[in-house]
């Protein structure tokens, strides 16, 4: 789950990483008296926010009201601005880049730093970037910050401040079960203080049981997707017409791919998971029906999830939700024959292989 800038900065503050004075508002009425000039920053989860006009500046109370009003009524990079972070402006001397992220290839955390801050790290040349992999069995130690400070050509007070920021960032990363903590830019101001100008934080959803305070709705998920978080299945909305229920993430993805290769657009991803419970099948249908697909496609390879259980779930869902859309089913694996018979007896088309089922869908859609 990605956090908004203001949430990331709250974590930074908690771990002793300096951030600019500021506050978050979601309506103009809540704006406070403040020391001007200030930056008015849209809280959206999108890169290149500044370029897209999502950051404004205000020198007076009137300007602050105007800019806030305008931003709160606009969309930046296609996202509605729901909140602003009002921050004291910094006298910037230099902008650096600092992040800790999970490196899948080395199965470890990696610290990435650069003297070129304030831009996308992907567009910074390799020789301006330094990376340090942290051995999970050693963890963070001061020699890492000495290596980092040397690359960033820091000494004296800057080196001391930076070392504390880096070790605090590592503690924040571990303490909050993050997958990414990025400070871009990390600002050196004209008085020689180092401050986190921005925050980009991703938290490991699987570790939320250790962070009950962070249990919030994922801002990048739709309402239905967030609602499905408490269910045993995984649900993702897409923008096509075919409602999909399958079992296993891989098979569900393969189902969406096969539909797409046939020029059929999936309306959703729904991985039923391993279940042998009719009620869960019904619940899955209730979710998919809410996104109003034109046709429903159920693709099951039975194992722990038995084909006849799913068949019974389809029949009962059809009655319970009075489903009018056509339903195409592919059942294979454990109890497939029983399952297909249950469906046939109830007038629902059932196939044993995926390609025949998808061909049938293509025929129905006339593609």
């Amino acid at each position: 789950m990605n956090l908004y800038e203001y949430m990331g900065k709250e974590i930074f503050k908690k771990y002793g990483i300096p951030v600019p004075d500021g506050y978050k508002v979601d309506k103009v009425a809540d704006l406070k008296q403040y020391e001007f000039p200030v930056a008015v920053k849209s809280q959206i989860l999108s890169g290149k926010r500044g370029k897209a006009g999502g950051i404004k500046f205000a020198k007076s109370e009137n300007e602050l009201k105007e800019e806030s009003e305008e931003l709160l009524n606009s969309k930046i990079n296609g996202l509605q601005v729901e909140a602003l972070l009002i921050e004291r402006m910094l006298d910037i001397k230099k902008e650096l880049y600092l992040s800790i992220t999970l490196d899948r290839a080395s199965k470890a955390l990696i610290i990435i730093m650069s003297t070129e801050g304030g831009m996308d790290i992907e567009s910074v040349p390799e020789n301006k970037i330094h990376k340090i992999v942290i051995d999970p069995l050693i963890g963070y130690s001061d020699y890492i910050s000495r290596e980092a400070a040397e690359f960033l050509e820091m000494d004296g007070s800057l080196k001391k401040q930076f070392s504390s920021i880096l070790s605090n960032l590592y503690n924040a990363f571990m303490g909050e079960d993050a997958l990414l903590m990025e400070i871009n830019p990390l600002i050196i101001d004209k008085t020689g203080n180092i401050i986190a100008g921005d925050s980009k934080v991703t938290i490991d959803d699987n570790a939320l049981f250790r962070h009950k305070n962070l249990v919030i709705n994922d801002p990048e998920k739709t309402e239905l997707e967030n609602e499905s978080a408490s269910k045993s299945f995984t649900f993702i909305e897409m923008d096509g017409h075919i409602g999909v229920i399958a079992n296993g993430a891989g098979l569900t993805m393969a189902t969406l791919d096969a539909l797409t290769l046939h020029k059929l657009k999936p309306r959703n991803f729904l991985d039923l998971g391993g279940t042998d419970n009719i009620e869960i099948v019904e619940e899955a249908f209730s979710f998919v029906l809410r996104v109003k697909p034109e046709i429903l496609f159920v693709n099951i390879f039975g194992g722990v999830t038995k084909a006849d259980t799913v068949a019974n779930g389809i029949v009962s869902s059809k009655k319970k939700f009075n489903i009018k859309q056509p339903i195409v089913v592919r059942l294979s694996g454990i109890h497939e024959e029983e399952g297909r018979k249950i469906l046939m007896d109830n007038g629902i088309k059932a196939f044993s292989d995926m390609n025949s089922a998808i061909n049938e869908l293509a025929k129905m859609k006339g593609v």
Binding site: L102, R104, A105, K107, A108, L109, E122, D135, P136, L137, M174, D177, L179, D204, D205, N206, A207, F209, R210, E220, T234, I236, M238, A246, N247, G248, A249, G250, L251, T252, M253, A254, L256, D257, A258, L259, T260, L261, P266, F269, D271, F301, G303, V304, S332, G333, I334, D353, M354, N355
Partner: protein, 283 residues
């Protein structure tokens, strides 16, 4: 045969749980030597006729080689470290939703102690007629010379069944796991399959996220003479969305299906468009 065989002695941590009890029973039916279960607080009981112990340490006089770990995600790190610390040389983690930082530490410790680690979030490993550790359905296998490695569960079964139905058989099937960090990866397993005398052909079932498929493709290009068939899921996945597996995500333009398919094709790997096309490409 890879890593496990008919002599492999398996313990199951979390055997008294719903998953542990059901799947250890299926493993015994398959012919796996399940010698003990470990469930704190349940020692002295039996599941599927197998004795349950309090700790992994208590099972050591039975000489276990491998542990299947099926405990809830918050307890995985403790259970896996217990197995590694007691000298078990193969650990397989079934559980999904393990925090990445926990997996990172387990994987580092496993590497340090030379432990073969499968998972987390994996269906396990099967060598037909010899040993199954995990949750793959028993009936889909036939002994043969095709080795399969995959990041999925159900999709793997689908492909194994298609391979078996087409008249082929399998030497080893391994589910590597759907998480961003896993023990054994494609680039590890491809070396093992390449050297396995029982394996003549290899199937790799990859998906979006990370760069393991690309790494394996580079190795195949250099070193592998055995025919390899590939399949990649997630062609239609929108960027930034986790497609059911925590590891199946396109981040900052990397880990796309296109990149993996290109890497496979440039290494001479035949790539199937649909899972059921794989047997045709084996011929």
């Amino acid at each position: 045969m890879v890593v496990v065989n008919s002599n492999t002695r398996v313990i199951v941590q979390g055997m008294t749980g719903h998953q542990g009890a059901f799947h250890s029973g299926e493993m015994i039916k398959f012919g796996t030597k399940v010698i003990a279960g470990v469930s704190p607080g349940k020692s002295g009981t039996k599941v599927n006729g197998v004795d349950i112990y309090e700790t992994v340490y208590d099972t050591l006089n039975l000489h276990p080689d491998a542990s299947m770990i099926s405990v809830p995600a918050p307890f995985i790190k403790d259970a896996a470290m217990e197995a590694i610390d007691n000298g078990i040389k193969l650990i397989y983690i079934l559980t999904e939703h393990v925090p990445v930082q926990d997996t990172m530490e387990i994987a580092a410790e496993a590497k340090r102690k030379n432990v073969f680690m499968i998972g987390p979030n994996s269906p396990g490993i099967t060598v037909p007629n010899e040993c199954k550790i995990g949750i793959m359905p028993n009936h889909i296998f036939r002994k043969g010379d095709i080795a399969i490695a995959s990041r999925s569960g159900t999709l793997t079964y689908e492909i194994v069944k298609a391979v078996t139905d087409a008249g082929f058989g399998e030497s080893t099937v391994i589910g590597l796991g759907g998480d961003p960090i896993i023990g054994t990866t494609f680039s590890d397993i491809i070396k093992i399959y390449n050297e396995d005398p029982a394996t003549k052909k290899i199937i790799l079932v990859g998906e979006i996220g990370g760069s393991e498929e690309e790494k394996a493709a580079a190795y195949i290009k250099e070193h592998v003479k055995k025919p390899v068939v590939g399949y990649i899921t997630g062609r239609s996945a929108p960027p930034g969305k986790k497609m059911g597996h925590a590891g199946a995500i396109i981040e900052k333009g990397t880990g796309t299906a296109e990149s993996k398919i290109n890497a496979f094709e440039s290494a001479g790997i035949k790539v199937a468009e649909y899972p059921n096309d794989i047997p045709k490409l084996l011929k």
